[in-house]
């Protein structure tokens, strides 16, 4: 297993390299550069600006310098749009924010989604099943860009319970709405997957056998059925969790959390090359870590998968 993990970790290096190259050229192909503005810069000024950021060098030199700086100095370069900051600064500031509300959001999703799915599956076609269905539909009808304004209208404007946005160092009243608004639709999907998967497992022969042996329903569920049923949920949550902790663009913009998601979109619009690249690398590393974790959890739950990970 350790061996397997190590091998997977080695694979991240070529992946990252390919990613950097793709993003690097993709950005250069995009029309307009970081200093294209409504007020075109006079050629002399433009020349100075490009020189300062090394953008006048041949592309392969730029790419090499970029990779070299990461490898030897762990320096992801300066931001072009926020001139007082470097990419390292921006990630150091924004990532903890999204990590915080993303984590609580994931907790919210799992703590509510899984039990809902379990209850719905056990009481197939019962009241709880309908509640779950209703909730799943509701949360999809109200995607976060509809849900968030409604929440703010209620909790901030009408009842004055929670601040309407901002982060303020991450005090808990500021975390609640972003976390819930981000998680709701995933919660519904998790409930749905849990329900589907558990129904599937409960009809498996070995569960029938266990029941036939007269084991109490509770034991059947907890000992035998639940763990394998959670596998699809875990696969689903892997990328979703990456998405959550890197921050939803909408949540960051709407709740003004100052999270990393906002940088991702702003950097793309302003062609802030180094910020885009830095964030793509961060996303990639996180995705990699989370998929590896998903695989390891799989292996832990299912011994046969484990033996497959030679």
């Amino acid at each position: 297993m350790l061996n397997y993990s190590l091998r997977r970790m080695m694979a991240v290096i070529p992946t990252l390299f390919i990613l950097i190259v793709i993003c690097f050229f993709l950005m250069r192909l995009a029309p307009g550069g970081p200093f294209t503005s409504e007020r075109p810069l006079p050629p002399a000024v433009m020349k100075n600006v490009l020189e300062r950021y090394g953008l006048d060098e041949p592309l392969y030199v730029q790419l090499w310098t970029y990779i070299k700086n990461i490898l030897f100095h762990f320096d992801f370069g300066p931001s072009f749009s926020q001139k007082d900051r470097t990419v390292n600064d921006l990630i150091a500031q924004g990532f903890p924010v999204t990590l915080t509300y993303g984590f609580f959001s994931a907790v919210f999703v799992l703590v509510l989604g899984i039990p809902l799915g379990v209850v719905a599956a056990l009481r197939h076609n019962s009241f709880w099943d309908y509640v779950m269905t209703g909730l799943a539909i509701f949360s999809q009808i109200f995607p976060n860009f509809v849900l968030a304004p409604i929440m703010v209208l209620l909790f901030t404007l009408s009842w004055g319970l929670l601040p309407g946005g901002g982060w303020n160092g991450g005090q808990w009243p500021y975390v609640i709405m972003p976390a819930v608004a981000l998680g709701t639709s995933y919660m519904a999907s998790v409930a749905r997957l849990t329900r589907g998967s558990l129904l599937e497992t409960l009809s498996a022969p070995y569960i029938r056998t266990a029941r036939a042996k007269g084991l109490p329903e509770r034991t059947v569920l907890w000992r035998h059925a639940l763990k394998p049923s959670l596998l699809p949920v875990i696969s689903y949550m892997g990328p979703v969790f990456v998405y959550m902790i890197t921050g939803s663009v909408f949540i960051d913009v709407f709740f003004s959390t100052g999270g990393i998601g906002q940088n991702f979109i702003d950097a793309a619009y302003t062609r802030d090359y180094s910020v885009i690249l830095g964030l793509a690398i961060l996303y990639s590393v996180l995705t990699f870590a989370l998929t590896l974790m998903v695989d390891l959890v799989y292996a832990w739950i299912d011994p046969k998968v484990r033996s497959g990970l030679k």
């Binding site: 993709l26 995009a30 991702f264 299912d302």
Partner: protein
């Protein structure tokens, strides 16, 4: 290894053979089971009605989808609501254009784009996931690398570059949506295949000399079709909403054409200002599609469950 030993027992070979015979009538059974499911059939009908609405709804419209009702412009909030007398059944949008006609037009775009892109993306994702899960090793690593890169690529830049080089059209839009979302369902299918491929009946089939493709399609696929189906029913509405972002960035459809996603996000922007119908009507259609897909997905899940056999 343990699995090898079990696999060698004659009982398992027999079970595997039985499995193969059964799978022949599998699809027939599934169809029967599906049509027994009331909600699923109702939902399928609803979806069909939506398609009819999209195709022929403009027959009943009294305005075209791009015409501005100058008499209402500037007084939308007070007079722009749904009104049978002036022919704006669903009211008008922010610019005084007939919302009914726009919803009809938007339904066409959204249904087409949502279904095509959603189904295509999940199909590609599932196939790649199945291949990665089944073969493992280097194949798995390459596919997972591609998965990782796709997830990390700044999609806004990707759309912008695409638009700059290939221009704008409906086909382009569906294509880029599939390219960016081809990983839909990949991880989940990969995980399912990883667990399924170690199941005894697969070993048995392999021992009987079945080809990999046959094993995947005959034995693994039916056992995880439910995942793909549920994923698809989640993906299609997601794609319908995703379309509005892609169009916003200039790749997709262009005003005066519209879509559910565009209408809903426009409506959501002004929902706190008292023009709720602008969100309500397009959202209602979207919800009908979504709920229908939900039940169709569930119905298919039950119908395709191999253990129901």
């Amino acid at each position: 290894m343990r699995t090898r030993k079990i696999m060698n027992s004659p009982a398992y070979a027999e079970a595997a053979a039985e499995e193969m015979i059964n799978s022949r009538s599998f699809w027939v059974d599934a169809r029967m089971r599906f049509f027994k499911n009331k909600m699923a059939v109702v939902s399928l009908t609803m979806l069909f009605l939506l398609a009819l609405f999209a195709a022929f709804g403009q027959v009943f419209a009294q305005w075209s989808y791009e015409e501005i009702d100058w008499s209402l412009l500037g007084k939308i909030k007070e007079q722009g609501g749904p009104n049978w007398e002036n022919g704006h059944y669903f009211g008008v949008d922010e610019l005084g254009r007939d919302l009914y006609a726009r919803v009809v037009q938007g339904s066409r775009v959204s249904l087409l784009v949502g279904f095509l892109a959603g189904i295509l993306a999940v199909c590609i994702g599932s196939t790649m996931g199945a291949i990665a899960g089944y073969y493992g090793g280097r194949t798995d690593q390459i596919i997972m690398g591609a998965f990782n890169i796709t997830l990390s690529i700044p999609y806004i830049i990707f759309f912008v570059v695409w638009q700059a080089f290939f221009g704008r059209s409906l086909e382009q839009m569906i294509l880029v949506m599939v390219i960016i979302n081809w990983t839909a369902g990949l991880l989940i299918v990969r995980g399912q295949v990883q667990t399924l491929k170690n199941k005894e009946f697969i070993d048995a089939a392999r021992m009987l000399g079945m080809s990999d493709a046959k094993i995947i399609f005959k034995h693994i696929l039916p056992n995880m079709l439910w995942v793909i189906v549920i994923y698809m029913s989640i993906s299609i509405p997601e794609m319908i909403m995703y379309e509005s972002l892609v169009s916003f960035l200039g790749v997709g459809i262009q005003e005066p054409n519209t879509s559910w996603g565009a209408l809903i996000s426009e409506g959501a922007k002004t929902m706190t200002f008292g023009t709720l119908w602008q969100l309500g009507y397009p959202a209602a259609f979207f919800v009908i599609a979504q709920v229908s897909l939900y039940y169709i997905g569930d119905g298919l899940r039950d119908a395709l469950d191999p253990k129901e056999r």
